[in-house]
């Protein structure tokens, strides 16, 4: 342990202290600050893009115990062991870790942690040299890598098998079987179909799924010659919906029937959009309404108004909080995973259906982990649960 004479922030107090205590009998004790920190280590911060060093220590014996005098810890850094230490920051008492993210990769640094009571500071021995660097693989994410590779592998494997012509059983989903019926009914009644792709933008996977399903629904309305109205809450979604519907009409040989003016942007505002769509429902009187995508509180405003107009309503979302409202107010609801499976169902393409089989195997694996992990946990073994721990994104 060394005591460094540099006390820049408290220089005056120090001098006054010397003057006052010069005559005191208990000089030695009064001069010594709090007990120093122990077990200081400085390492390159793992799993980062470089530029930071992690310093850890065990708190001073006077921090929260002993003399209770520690107010904080001053972090000092230098490129030489013996001199040139500069003040970085002071962290509050009780803290035992600091990340210095101002380092230059490839430079060696030394650190000192000084326990301070506001007047005196007791420094640790310098630690180092330590050098920061960037890593190519995030070790804490090995579990995610395995999960990603495994689940993607399963999906790809079954897509590949489907390519080879293996027949697949796929259970019926009522909401998807009703799609044809709903479009057919709109045609018979001579009324339009309304398609609501949620209120989120194209960065949301549910919106993307909603637009993909829109393509399948548009193929049907094109065949029947039924108008398809798509109000959107985001300009990008409008663009994507226009592209999708146009292409669907082209696919079934009805490019002439495509009317881009039916795919409208209303407003980004959640309730402004709800007000606008409600207005459309009561005035255009669609015979079938689809809600496919990410929904928030507006879900029930839309679904109740839609119900009051007597339309067949089919909803699908992966927003757990909104599912209850669609379930109560709509005729059919695709729950969570079913939304993402809908396009594969409606396409009836073997490749897409193959991916569903892959998903099922994913579920089987999770069920196995649940069973095994819980049994192990009941006997006090938690390694499986520890292994599943993931850090922040």
């Amino acid at each position: 342990m060394r005591r460094y004479g540099r006390r820049a922030p408290y220089a005056t107090e120090f001098i006054i202290g010397i003057l006052l205590l010069g005559t005191s009998a208990v000089q030695g004790e009064a001069l010594s600050g709090p007990a120093p920190v122990t077990q200081v280590v400085a390492i390159d911060k793992p799993n980062d893009s470089g530029g930071s060093v992690l310093i850890r220590w065990k708190r001073s014996a006077d921090d929260g115990a002993g003399m209770m005098s520690v107010k904080g810890y001053e972090i000092l850094r230098s490129v030489e062991r013996e001199k040139g230490y500069e003040h970085l920051t002071v962290v509050p008492a009780g803290v035992e870790e600091y990340v210095d993210n101002t380092t230059v990769d490839g430079t060696s640094y030394f650190y000192i942690i000084g326990a301070t009571d506001g007047v005196h500071r007791t420094d640790s021995d310098p630690v180092g040299p330590v050098m920061s660097s960037a890593q190519w693989f995030h070790q804490g994410r090995l579990n995610m890598l395995i999960a990603t590779v495994l689940l993607s592998g399963l999906v790809l494997w079954f897509i590949n098998r489907a390519k080879k012509g293996k027949k697949l059983y796929i259970r019926p989903i009522a909401g998807l079987q009703a799609v044809d019926e709903a479009v057919g009914r709109a045609t018979e009644m001579g009324r339009p179909v309304l398609y609501v792709p949620g209120i989120q933008d194209m960065d949301n996977i549910q919106t993307i799924a909603g637009i993909v399903i829109l393509g399948r629904v548009a193929e049907r309305t094109a065949q029947y010659g039924t108008p398809l109205i798509v109000p959107t809450s985001r300009s990008l979604v409008m663009t994507a919906a226009q592209e999708t519907v146009k292409e669907a009409y082209l696919n079934v040989g009805r490019p002439d029937a495509y009317n881009p003016d039916l795919i409208r942007y209303l407003t980004d505002d959640q309730f402004g959009y709800a007000a606008g769509v409600d207005g459309m429902m009561v005035r255009e009187k669609p015979a079938a309404i689809f809600y496919m995508g990410a929904f928030y509180a507006e879900s029930l405003i839309l679904a109740e108004t839609g119900h009051s107009t007597g339309a067949i309503q089919i909803a699908g979302t992966a927003m757990p909080a909104q599912l209850p409202f669609f379930v109560t107010a709509c005729d059919y609801t695709l729950i969570g995973e079913e939304l993402f499976a809908a396009s594969a169902y409606l396409s009836k393409e073997p490749l897409l259906l193959g991916s569903l089989k892959g998903q099922d195997w994913g579920k089987a694996i999770f069920i196995a982990i649940l069973l095994l992990g819980s049994i192990l946990a009941s006997f006090g073994h938690y390694f499986l649960s520890d292994w599943l721990t993931t850090g922040s994104l």
Binding site: S49, G50, A134, Q135, W136, F137, H138, R141, M144, L145, T148, L151, S152, V155, L156, I159, M202, D203, I208, A209, V212, L214, G215, R234, S235, L236, T239, A240, E243, T244, E247, D261, R264, Y265, D269, F271, G272, A275, A297, L300, I301, E304, T305, A318, P320, T328, A329, E337, E338, F340, A341, S343, L352, S355, L356, Q359, G362, K363, F366, L393
Partner: protein, 207 residues
């Protein structure tokens, strides 16, 4: 070629985003934030298309004097006033923009939102019928949890809050978790289909 390039872009962008999660090293480090900003910029440009779409549809409605064209005038006037005042004179408190936000948009938005109080009642009344075992469970859980949340429930039976909390913490959590895990698998599969270009209706690449 026109059809190929978008598929290649999708593939490269998708794989890059997956890789960046595992690689802390540059150039992957801040990529997801960088791409987020790019996305927002593209979305802002798209806003021009969106607003253009509104103007086109409503100007047409007015010029052809279609039924309800007067409402289109109101819509366009509202759009012009907020957009011009906001872009021209700023959006902080004290501006015309903020006055409109406060006295027009807020009451409109809150009232639209508040319609839910009525709709949640009519939906409950209509749908909560003990027709099947499933419907009965839905109804029972809803009523218990509802009563567990208000003073009148406690007044009727002092254990309502405990039972309500138990339903929220166990059977409810179980159901939600099953849905969430299923969703994760659905997303993995749907994302892969899109990245690999198997699902391409949205891109207009056809079958």
């Amino acid at each position: 070629m026109r059809h190929q390039i978008p598929l290649i872009i999708t593939f490269v962008a998708g794989i890059t985003m997956i890789v960046q999660y595992f690689v802390p090293h540059e150039p992957f480090a801040a990529l997801s934030q960088q791409f987020r900003i790019w996305f927002l910029i593209i979305a802002t440009f798209a806003m021009i298309l969106g607003v253009g779409n509104i103007i086109k549809i409503h100007v047409e409605r007015i010029s052809r004097a279609r039924p309800g064209w007067g409402y289109s005038v109101i819509l366009l006037a509202g759009l012009a006033t907020t957009a011009i005042s906001g872009i021209g004179w700023g959006i902080q408190p004290g501006t015309i923009f903020f006055y409109l936000f406060w006295n027009l948009l807020i009451p409109l938005g809150s009232t639209m939102f508040a319609l839910l109080a009525f709709f949640i009642t009519s939906a409950a009344y209509r749908a909560f019928r003990a027709r099947t075992a499933e419907a009965t469970l839905l109804l029972a859980a809803a009523i218990i949890v509802m009563l567990s949340r208000v003073p009148v429930g406690t007044y009727l039976w002092d254990r309502f809050p405990i039972v309500g909390n138990w339903i929220m913490d166990y059977p409810n959590t179980a159901g939600q978790r099953a849905i969430m895990i299923g969703i994760a698998l659905g997303v993995v599969s749907a994302s892969l289909r899109i990245i690999l270009g198997i699902e391409r209706t949205y891109m207009g690449a056809g079958k």
